[in-house]
Structure formats: structure tokens, C-alpha cells
Symmetry: C2
Subunit: 329 residues, 2 copies
Amino acid sequence: MKSDVANVTLAEIQAPVRRELDSVFDELARVVKADVPLVNDVSEHLLRVKGKLFRPTLLLLSAQAVGQITPKEVTLAAVAELIHISTLLHDDSVDHSPLRRGQPTVNAAFSHEVAVIMGDYLYSRAIEQLVKLKSQESLEIMSRVTNELTIGEMREVVAFDGLDFSESDYESMILAKTASLIAGACELGALAGGEEWRGPLRRFGTNLGAAFQIADDLLDYTATEEATGKPVGQDLREHKVTLPLIVALSRMNPDERRLVDDLMADPSPEDSEIAAVIQVVDARGGIVAARERASEMVQRAETELEAVPVGSARDALSASITYCVERSR
Amino acid sequence: MKSDVANVTLAEIQAPVRRELDSVFDELARVVKADVPLVNDVSEHLLRVKGKLFRPTLLLLSAQAVGQITPKEVTLAAVAELIHISTLLHDDSVDHSPLRRGQPTVNAAFSHEVAVIMGDYLYSRAIEQLVKLKSQESLEIMSRVTNELTIGEMREVVAFDGLDFSESDYESMILAKTASLIAGACELGALAGGEEWRGPLRRFGTNLGAAFQIADDLLDYTATEEATGKPVGQDLREHKVTLPLIVALSRMNPDERRLVDDLMADPSPEDSEIAAVIQVVDARGGIVAARERASEMVQRAETELEAVPVGSARDALSASITYCVERSR
């Protein structure tokens, strides 16, 4: 297993489970259907843009790697995606984001109120499906994960303007906010094979998810606007503290530190202020250190996969690591 | 069983389960505890004002009426309250309400973002507790109810500015938004006794909850500001269409109808406009008709209770009907 293959495409990763992913789309449409026209309008808006189905992909690949994909796994994959969409709805709603995946958010296209309620609707529908499956293990995994997601979001609230936010705070946050659902998807897939696969695949997902989030946060320091579709330094503009800054902060001299303090004191920092802080973070090794941290997690994810039976599904899981770290979301 | 006893107090209704309700407070504190200081700060803010615990009260009384209250019922009662609180958090958040029960809302005391996330936190914690109980019936009841709640809220969105909102639309809305959780609490309590009590106690709760909501909506037309703590005609001010208006609308002449249309066209109606519409609604029998509808539901709730064994718990459930209809929330 090598993780340094460049330019892995999502289509390649999804190839072993392509047919089942099409069923996930149908399942999503079935699960969200209601007899309230407004609910159906919002669902249609949400499902019109076919998302990447990254969590369903990991769930189905995990199941295929250690067992067989049955209709149950297709439902579980839809549940994982619904929970993901419901967190995005609430994120966009509290951020007042106008766009998501290039489309108007529910927040913008309908209303803030509809976005909050619809998030609750999708989440409760997802739980209802889990209950109908009568799988105590699935319920335990997903009820734990959905609670962790909210804890992660609460930790993230503290990460804004939080210059005392430590590496360990950051790690707790990304484990809860991002890694938990990805790990949960892998663990739900593992249930198709048996108890012994749950640990390795969950830990694979945890490390994959954490690496993914670090890579995503790094983009804010390294990518161009053309590559990400959002302005460079957007996190800094919003006073959001992530790993590169946390590492660099402890190594800064008073003049450098003052640049950061000034930016955090400024409700609408200038591009030049942001560029100056990015430069200091880079000069103090914040970017390199964050890359190393992501690499460690990639290594651990690779190691966990070694326990999983060899095959095209395992290869695709391995390729998903590269995809995550290189492409981000 | 008589429902025309005036001035039933909450303390009287709660007397048969007073000790267990104290345990519910402890259970709530246990369930919401987290290792994130911000989460605990918000929980403390929420639990500082001891709510009426109306849903836990109904759950425990239902259990006592047909069986025995065990620690499981105390946990279920805490779950019902947590789900209620989480819906209030999201309601206040989308309404930007500054006060609830005379205290600043989480929205106002912390932030809009924290209110949305905390609602998700409490809800997912509640589901986690249900999963830990390993009771498939409880999970089926509460996952159905929580989804109905969101459907009710979505139906309510349509009730604003909705002069084509019908009596049947209104009834669907209040059944989902208000009656579902109250019925769910009664049905969860009934599980302590056995399968045969689920139907009668659920239907008791459905009718009680619907009567409660109609009575609450009536207050907007009949009560004084001193009695309710909110301005008279607040629903009309916010263009919210409820039963008295729906009934009266179909009986209005063109001049009267124009008063309503003008109010709905005005983003900030004057007190005099509101008073004029209230007067027309009353003159056209909207208030009387809504009272009659509530009475029918009270009757049905009473009838359902006749199936339940005689005793102090059943008497308290009967008294809760009077309490609901006379006091509102």
C-alpha cells in the first residue's frame, strides 16, 4: 500500500462500489420523502446537486473489504450521508453562508428557519431508519458519533479568537467534528464482516478524518483561490485558529506575535494583514509542522488498513487517504 | 372524572410523582454533563430555571397509573424533557427570542450559533440515552415523535402569512408540533404497564396536547398581557394564522376580510389594526368555535382515561387536562 500516488480521482475510489452508490441516491430520496410540500422542495434542492457521497463510499468500501454489501449497508450509507448533510445545514445556517458546492444554501434559497428545521428533520429521519434496522450496534455507533459531532462544533466555537487554543484542543476538536463521522461510517461498514474488523476500520477512519481536516485547514494557508473556490486566508479573516497558527505561535518573537494579535483585534482584517500572518506562520514552520502531523495520521491510517483483507476495496480505501490529503473536500 | 375543576395547580398534579420528579432533575444534570466547559455553562444556564417538567410529569403519572416507576422511567422522563428543551432552543434561535420563562434565552445569553449547536447536543444526548436503555419500543416511539416534531415545525412555517391555511392544515400542524411529544411521553410511561395501555394513553396524550395548543393559541385572542407575559395579539402581529382566525375567515364579509388582508400586508401592524381583527374574529364566532374544538378534544382525552385503572395517578392525569386548557404553558 502506497499513499504517495498523485491525483487519485473520486471515480477511481468509488469504482468498486459504483452500483451500490447509485442505490444510495435512491435510498436517500426514499428516506427524506414527506407529505409536506415544503419539506420535499428543500429535499429536492439538497439532492439536486449529487454530493461526493464520501462517507457512504467509505462505508460501502469497508463493508466490501470485510464482508458483503446488503440492502442494510445501503441504508446505513444513506443514514451517514443524511447526518452529514444535516450538520452542513446547521453549519451554513449559523454561518449565514450563501453558497455550498456552488449552489445557494438552504439558508439562502429558503430561509434560516427552514435550514435549522430541515437539519433537525434529516437527522431525526436518519435515526428513525437506524431504529427500523433494529441494529443495536449501528445505533450505538451513530448515537455516539452524532453527539461527538455536536461536541466538536462546540469546541470549534471556542477556536474562534482563541489564541490560547492548544494543539491538544485542536486535535480534540477535529477528532469530534470531522473524524468521528468518517470513523463511524467505516465502523458501520465493518459490521458487515464481524466484530474483529470494527476496531481497525474505525481507527483507519479516525486517522483518515483527522488527516483530512488538517489538510483542509492547511489549504487556507497554501492554496490559491482558484483551487479552493474560497478566498485564501478565509479562516484567519474569520479569526479561526487552526494547527499551522497554533504551532507557529509558540515560536514567534514579540513583533511577529503582535501581527497576529492585531489581526485578531481587527473585525475585518485587510488582505495585507492576512498575507503577513500567513508569511510568519510559514517562516516559523507552522505549515511544515501541520503537514508532518497529517503525514503521521496518514501513516497510522495505512497501518490500520494492513489488518484488512487484501482486495480492490482495500486498495480503494488506501487510495482514499491520498484523495483526502491531496484534494481536501 | 370531571374536567371543570377550576384552578388546578401544577403541584397538585405532580404530587403523586413528586419524589421521582426530583430524580428527573438529577438525571437531567447527569445526562447533559460534558467535558467541554462551554457545554456545561450552557447546560447550567438551561437547568438553573427549573422548568415545569410537564412532559416528565405525564410520563411518570402514566407509568404509575398502569405499572411501576423504575429508574428506566426516570431516564425516559429526562429524555422527554431534553427533547422538549432542544426544540425550544431551536425555536428561540430561529425566532431570535430574547427571553424564555423570564430568563435570557441561550440565543441571547450566549449566541445564536451556540443555541443551534446546543439543541443538537441535547437531542443527540437524549437519543444516546435511549440507545443505552436498549428498548426498541422506546426508540421507535421517540424517533417517530422527534421526526413528527420537525414536520410540525415545517408546517408551522407555512402557517405564517397563510390565509389559505385550512382547519385541517392547522390540526395536522398542532398534532405534529405539540401533541406528538406529549402523546409520546404518555406512551413511554405506558410501557411500564404493558402493551394494552399504549393505545389509550397515547391517544389521551394526543388529545391533551392538541387541546393544550388550541388553548394556547386562544390566549392570543383572549388573554391580557399581565396574564401571559407577552403582548396580546402577538401571533397576529407576526402574521401567524391559528384556529380562531381560520374559522372566522370563512364567515367574514368583504369589509372584514379586507381588515385581515391589510394586517397581513403590513410588516408591523398597529395595535389598533390587531384589535380590530381580534374583534372581527370574535364577532364571527372564531373564539367560540376554537373553544368548542378544544372541549371536544378534552372530552376525548377524558374518555381515553376511562380505560386506565382508577387511582391517584389517573386522577392527576385527569386534572392535567384542566390545567392545560385553563393555564396554557
